[in-house]
Symmetry: C2
Subunit: 115 residues, 2 copies
Amino acid sequence: MSAESKDRFAALPKPPYFVVAFSSHRTVGDCGYADMAQTMLDLAEQQPGYLGYESVRGADGFGITNSYWIDEASIISWKQVVDHLAAQGRGRRDWYERYEVRIALVQRAYGFVKD
Amino acid sequence: MSAESKDRFAALPKPPYFVVAFSSHRTVGDCGYADMAQTMLDLAEQQPGYLGYESVRGADGFGITNSYWIDEASIISWKQVVDHLAAQGRGRRDWYERYEVRIALVQRAYGFVKD
């Protein structure tokens, strides 16, 4: 398995914990998005209760980011950070054509790694 | 919003319902994967309790598929279909370097669509 692949997976802690499933379609053009996304990631890693994230975006602009959190309180704190960043920057409406957010309690989890 | 974007999002039913978050890193080469993936999608749509899916894979082979289900029973039935398909085909070990599966209960959900 390549180092890149390893880097793209989050850890698999024993449930229960939470996932925030964020699917989005980006607007055309950067509009400050890349800087904001990196800042968000750096801040997430410092956030209490943060367990990791997995993210991928296709060439057509559609992407999914699943982030993992110890509890709902840490998700709510994180949302305040994101909202603050969005208010400072150009705002979510400039970055996304559409998005959907689902907050879910992970009950079971398993994985496979090829030898 | 483009028609393609609209097609890539799942519906946003009122929670509770379940998400199966599947992150994976594909092996190099098709090995029958594309056919299997289309068959799986066609079968999922006929499956009781299926609510939709969202999926994206990057050029490096890492991808995320979140599928949505009414309850755990429908996820378990679906897993039997997937296992059967994998056994018929070349098997998951030929298609994936690594994967992680998380089964989670969606508690809150919201979305945004740009005007």
